[in-house]
Amino acid sequence: MKDKKIKNVFKEGAISSEFIGESIAKHQSKISIGAHNIFLGQVRADEIDGKAVSAIEYTAYEDMANEKFHEIREATFEKFNLTCMHIYHSLGTVKVGEICLFVFVSSPRRKEVFKALEYVVEEIKVKAPVFGKEIFEDQSHQWKVNS
């Protein structure tokens, strides 16, 4: 583990469009940046056995997940020429259509942000101990598995 402070990526509930907009605005003072790329994970109304998902309830092994997010962040900075990077993931209930994951990478050049963003999102899916419980309209549930 490197000496940089480990950040808490988790936010209670959905990630609002206001929060995302403000995050973008905060970068206007960083004038070496020439390209941003943003990934927004949205809760999908999957239909399983005739029942529609109405929300996902997220839990996580928070200490381990924050360490893994930190490692992913460090590895991404080593691989790509990025100016900055931000990751936010929801905990608790996020309704269909709401945002549960927000990844934001910035660089002087566009090619770096396309490659870096895909790398970060795929690493999160594989390495972060986060668990989604799909809640159906009738309040029954099943545990989601990433495909």
Partner: protein, 77 residues
């Protein structure tokens, strides 16, 4: 040694708790899992990884004490 066992997602649902203490006399991670399989027979049919002190370990790894977590398939994002 005393271990702190953590459960998440569908595993926590199965054990009806998220954390418990376990007195452990053995040496390897697989022996911890065997003890838990005896306590929770339904665990055997579940797919999970094991983390020791927040790092994924194999069943053959030595138990070093601290936190052992049972992690079902990840579904973040």
């Amino acid at each position: 040694m005393r271990l702190n066992i953590k459960y998440f997602g569908l595993i926590a649902e199965l054990t009806s708790c998220s954390e418990e203490q376990l007195e452990f006399e053995g040496t390897k991670v697989e022996e911890v899992i065997e003890l838990l399989n005896t306590k929770y027979p339904d665990l055997k049919s579940k797919d999970f990884q094991v983390a020791q002190n927040r790092e994924i370990v194999s069943l053959k790894s030595p138990v070093t004490g601290g936190d052992i977590a049972l992690l079902p398939p990840f579904s973040g994002g």
